[in-house]
């Protein structure tokens, strides 16, 4: 089936070429990081996790959000999700590959990464994260590939895919729960040590992931001729609206709990995030930007809930993605470290190489996504010309 991705028009190959350029730039930057050490990034002794882990957290959410389309289609037999389910599964594959790459580039001694498997440590959430992410990747590759293959051969889906799908649904929840537990299990970081973190992660994942899915589906419809039912997009946008509402509610709950009790150990992180201290307000624009984007996105989605206007929908989706990326990525990870256990306020900003490596990984994810969507388009959109 992969040979279908090797046939395309000039626009397709230009896009692939562009992605390869970004990947090569990212790869060369990574070589520089291997040679120099992780000091080439903006991370330091006090803020020891940065843009890489922020992106990892966000994209695990995107990967988990495939369940939003898989569950109704397979469990509730909601046939109108037929077109979008495969796109969701392929987005999950691409997102998991990105998360694995983000963790890999964040390691100080990546040649030893197999130590996680050779010397398993069940008390460590990072170990379990590797287990569940690898399992989820394999599950989605098998499910996505074989169901599309069956469609290509105009046969019914093989029967053994069903139990795998049933496993993949709680598995999707588990990958993001385990990721949340990485943070919420740490007593040292009071900003993360909240039971609500896992529910927050899931709510924001179910808002941001399907937003990305809608945007990609509309792009796939326009450029690759992949048909996705209007009703499917409308239903997914409703799910996004609800998930966004729950996410906003959860954030407000956190803010109440922290500020009503007014313990400095808890409020200090929120104060730094939303107000900053003199001379160090670098997270404030991200925090407020996230809030404003989320509110505008939510209102837009509410106003358009009874019809399907593409422009406002895409606008709301973009704002949702940006808002949650800023909140769950940058805001969560960096503010967890500031103030430090010694009440210091260090500075963090990503360096050029850090950003280039991230862009390289984004491009890799998009490459995987493009190839997979191209295969899907050539099987499904048989009557449309490809770009």
């Amino acid at each position: 089936m992969i040979e279908k991705a090797l046939k395309g028009g000039s626009r397709y190959w230009l896009w692939i070429g562009f992605l390869f350029v970004l990947i090569i730039v990212g790869f060369l930057s990574y070589l520089k990081q291997l040679a120099h050490g992780l000091g080439i990034t903006g991370m330091g002794r006090d803020v020891s996790w940065g843009l890489y882990i922020a992106n990892f957290t966000f994209f695990v959410g995107v990967a988990a959000s495939a369940v939003v389309v898989v569950l109704p289609y397979y469990i509730h037999d909601y046939k109108r999700f037929k077109g979008i389910t495969i796109l969701g599964e392929f987005l999950a594959i691409s997102a998991v590959i990105m998360t694995i790459l983000f963790i890999f580039v964040d390691l100080g001694a990546p040649s030893r990464v197999l130590n996680i498997i050779l010397y398993p440590s069940p008390s460590s959430l990072l170990f379990w994260d590797m287990v569940v992410l690898t399992g989820y990747l394999i599950l989605n590759i098998i499910i996505g590939w074989w169901s599309l293959d069956a469609e290509d051969k105009e046969m019914e889906q093989p029967r053994w895919i069903r139990p795998l799908v049933y496993i993949s649904i709680p598995w999707a929840i588990s990958i993001h729960t385990v990721t949340a537990f990485i943070y919420s299990g740490l007593i040292a970081r009071s900003f993360w040590h909240t039971a609500l973190l896992a529910p927050r992660f899931l709510a924001s994942a179910f808002a941001s992931g399907p937003s990305l899915l809608i945007i990609l589906s509309l792009i796939a419809k326009r450029w690759a001729g992949l048909e996705v039912e209007r009703d499917a997009i409308k239903k997914v946008s409703v799910i996004i609206a609800y998930a966004l509402a729950i996410h906003i509610f959860f954030v407000l709950v956190e803010i109440f709990t922290v500020f009503y009790g007014d313990m400095p150990a808890h409020t200090d992180h929120f104060r730094f995030l939303f107000l900053g201290v003199t001379g160090k307000r670098f997270l404030v624009p991200w925090a407020w930007g996230s809030v404003i984007c989320a509110l505008i996105a939510f209102i837009t989605l509410l106003k358009n809930s009874d019809r399907l206007n593409e422009k406002p929908l895409v606008f709301a989706c973009i704002l949702t993605i940006l808002s949650i990326w800023a909140e769950k990525g940058i805001g969560l990870v960096i503010a967890g470290f500031i103030p430090t256990p010694l009440d210091e306020i260090p500075r963090y900003y990503p360096t050029l190489f850090e950003v280039l490596i991230c862009i390289g990984i984004y491009a890799t994810g998009f490459l995987v996504l493009t190839v997979l969507y191209k295969i899907a388009a050539s099987i499904r959109g048989k009557n449309r010309p490809f770009s």
Partner: protein, 250 residues
């Protein structure tokens, strides 16, 4: 061999490997339980004795010298095994408006607390850090993958990472002790290499005011046991129940 047979074989092989590894894991932990506990190393730091010499850095200098801890210009790359911070930062939870005046400018020595219930050991995905029977939280620099999860988990800021190759930044290399490579986490090890030769930690040894008291908590006659029974002591962030083995006495 056709595809189905190959898959069956691969499945049995994978299961066998997993079973073998689990048996290893279980038998390892059993072996550890059977060993009897020997010593329980702990340290007591006296604020008043340390404050007698303002600006003294002997303990920090000797530790970083013999352990080849590098020195960087850029503070974010900085590494430290032992350092001094103001009392209000170290004991923010034990500062009230009245004692704040007395403790102003009081510099407190901080190091790895070698906790009884170390959160860093819990989160390490490769067991590159573990708690030894004698209480020391050890580091295996060969196994560390540099994920820095332990740094996020440590409530005391005791761990540092080698953000770049440290060797060019070590002022005076001590050839009797290795340095670390870039990409691994390091921290105070209670001078376990000296303890194995019957010596006390270098910081304790060199302090001109004898502000650092070290010893075996399991031995009621050790200096640290006697001083902790005689004088009031506090620990850093005790409500976290990590059980630090570094105590502070006035």
């Amino acid at each position: 061999m056709n595809r189905r047979d190959f898959l069956k074989f691969a499945g049995v092989l994978a299961f066998g490997i997993a079973a073998h590894q689990s048996v290893n894991l279980i038998s390892q932990s059993r072996a550890r339980d059977e060993k009897k506990s020997t010593k329980a190393w702990a340290m007591a730091i006296s604020f008043s004795a340390c404050a007698r010499r303002e600006g003294c850095r002997d303990c920090i200098d000797i530790c970083h010298l013999i352990h080849n801890v590098p020195e960087f210009d850029n503070p974010k790359d900085g590494l430290r095994w032992i350092w001094a911070s103001p009392y209000e930062s170290v004991f923010a939870d034990q500062t009230n408006p009245f004692n704040r005046g007395m403790l102003k400018n009081l510099s407190v020595l901080c190091l790895c607390n070698h906790c009884d219930n170390p959160p860093c050991v819990k989160v390490c995905p490769t067991k590159a850090t573990w708690k030894r029977e004698d209480g020391i939280v050890m580091m295996d620099y060969h196994r560390c993958i540099g994920c820095r999860y332990c740094m996020a988990a440590c409530p005391y800021g005791a761990r540092s990472f080698n953000w770049r190759d440290p060797r060019p930044f070590i002022k005076n290399i001590n050839k009797d002790y290795p340095n670390r490579m870039k990409g691994v986490v390091e921290k105070c090890n209670f001078c376990e290499e000296r303890l194995s030769q019957g010596l006390i930690p270098a910081c304790v040894d060199i302090c001109p005011e004898k502000a650092l008291i070290f010893g075996d908590l399991n031995d009621p006659d050790s200096e640290v046991s006697k001083v902790l029974r005689a004088r009031f002591s506090i620990q850093r962030r005790p409500y976290l129940a990590t059980g630090p083995r570094v105590f502070y006495i006035f």
